[in-house]
């Protein structure tokens, strides 16, 4: 039982005074938790007096595995953290690794990764908002969102062959360069998506039922958001103007014109609106990046000895052959500084960072992931106290908890 046992006489007396409360187990298998997590709710009638989250059902030791897989292999595990936007995780992981190595990416790779990170953000926000709609009774809205996610999956599939678990990035570059077909598909998406966004806005933004269910529910003040380490759209919906894309520009974000979407309100409806607005800004970034995509190599040069050289290089140049050999042989690989660093990106859900300790080999000594879902789920009891049972799904949906990232 996750409920803390009463320790003192006072606590026992308190427990007795609260004896009339109902205890309700919410999850671990429940359609509205979307994944595997459990809440123990204390109910006074229909009002939630307290909520005790119980997590760990999906814990699979990702950080331990990170100490046994090399920097390129581990990218497959990051796919499985926030599986709603795996490309963002890939980019976060290899962004941190490249920071540790001190690698400077090629301009084309920076632009390509920026485009993909933003497409991943759109895909994540579509799911989150779609699920909030679904949980509060707006099924049509959910279908609109999921139709567009399918289009995005199609782009990802054309890009790297996988719909769901992309594992697209490599240390110092990406798996394959984007083909003209991918560029064409992204262009088509940029053109067609605003129409769907408008439709989605019209479906829910002034929908009486939806607004009643989300407005004023689960309010998070700015001070609480900072104190409880909230980041990403959840913090921005509470008035924290922090966005790593602007504050600590990484990849190619400096080159683009976009806005940080904030709201001073901090309720579920504000979080929904911030996500909707962010999708439009993401689309702006994608539109600018795809038209200005630099040419040239997508991976870092052979001298860096981190990415596998192209087959043409391997067969026709001595540097290519040596570099290929060094990377492929089991006892070689690239060298990493004997030091520690933290690299983070603005993932769809918040700040996703990796704290890496390198020990000279190509396997991390420590690969700590700072998972936004984990930090945000700790907010939940604070947000739900005093609201009704039916608000649980609205608040849970607006926090966008992905249990695989929550438990890792």
């Amino acid at each position: 039982m996750p409920v803390t046992a009463a320790k003192t006489i006072e606590q026992l007396a308190q427990a007795e005074a609260r004896d009339y409360l109902w205890t309700l187990n919410f999850g671990p298998q429940h359609p509205a938790t979307h994944t595997t997590l459990r809440l123990v709710l204390m109910l006074d009638g229909e009002r939630v007096v307290d909520a005790i989250p119980d997590i760990g059902y999906l814990h699979s030791g990702f950080e331990k595995i990170g100490e046994h897989l090399n920097y390129n292999q581990y990218v497959t595990v990051t796919d499985r953290m926030n599986y709603i936007s795996p490309l963002a995780n890939n980019i976060a992981w290899h962004g941190a690794v490249e920071k540790l190595l001190g690698l400077e990416l090629t301009p084309r790779c920076k632009y390509l990764r920026t485009i993909l990170a933003e497409l991943a953000r759109i895909s994540d926000h579509l799911l989150c908002n779609g699920a909030v709609g679904l949980d509060t009774g707006a099924f049509t809205y959910f279908l609109y969102a999921f139709y567009q996610r399918e289009v995005l999956y199609d782009i990802f599939e054309t890009l790297c062959g996988a719909r769901f678990t992309n594992s697209y990035t490599r240390v110092g570059g990406v798996m394959y360069d984007a083909t003209p077909l991918v560029i064409e598909k992204i262009r088509a998406f940029v053109k067609s998506f605003p129409k769907t966004l408008d439709d989605m806005d019209r479906l829910l933004n002034r929908n009486r039922i939806f607004v009643d269910r989300t407005k004023g529910v689960g309010i998070l003040t700015k001070a609480e958001a900072l104190s409880r380490s909230a980041t990403g759209p959840i913090a921005r919906a509470s008035g924290v103007t922090r966005d790593l894309r602007k504050d600590e520009p990484y990849l190619a974000y400096e080159d683009f014109d976009f806005q940080v979407c904030c709201s001073p309100v901090g309720d579920c409806f504000a979080r929904y609106l911030v996500r909707m607005a962010e999708m439009r800004e993401s689309l702006r970034i994608v539109a600018q990046a795809i038209e200005n995509l630099p040419s040239g190599p997508v991976n870092v040069l052979v001298d860096e000895r981190t990415t596998l050289p192209s087959k043409q290089d391997v067969y026709s140049t001595i540097e290519g052959t040596i570099s290929h050999f060094e990377l492929v042989m089991a006892n070689r690989g690239f060298t990493v500084p004997h030091d520690e660093c933290y690299g983070a990106i603005e993932a769809p859900n918040g700040e996703l960072g990796f704290y890496l300790a390198g020990d000279g080999t190509d396997v991390a000594y420590r690969a700590r992931c700072r998972p936004p879902s984990y930090i945000h789920f700790a907010l939940f009891p604070h947000l739900i106290r005093g609201h009704t049972l039916s608000d649980v799904v609205a608040v849970l949906g607006s926090l966008n908890i992905i249990a695989a990232e929550l438990d890792r």
Binding site: G56, L226, T231, R242, Y342, R370
Partner: protein, 165 residues
Amino acid sequence: MIQPPTQTAVAAAFPALVWSEFRGGTRAVVPRDELYKTLEFLRDRHHFDLLVDITCVDYLNYRGATDRFGLVYLLAATETNERLTVRTFVNEPDLVVPSAVPLWKGADWMEREVWDMFGIQFEGHPDLRRILMPEEFTAFPLRKDYPLQGRGERHNFPVLTREEG
């Protein structure tokens, strides 16, 4: 990245801090006894209002390491966009550090995870229980002396039948 005036001010207030730079990030190693005071000073005087993460590294087989565990506090200032990594070292058998929950409420689950995975105790934490591993789990799985395959815990789970449940 920390701005030089902030660093000078913090270094003047806490001379025991050891500073270092790596890849544009500033780090300060602080003795454990001054950890809480340093964090409080950084939050109240220098606007480090966001606790990004608390984590731990087990330096059991790390070349050149003299201490067993290194605790890492990643701080950020949302107004000035500064970042600072505060580290402190603890050794067995005295694995106790003051809890940061009175300073940042977000430290609650982060510290519970560090306790769960490394067995570091946070003095003053309101509810220090395991969070990801089951309650009855006895080991600390992210320590370097814990094998990747586990010690057979998975095979010895008690089986509960429907009648007993």
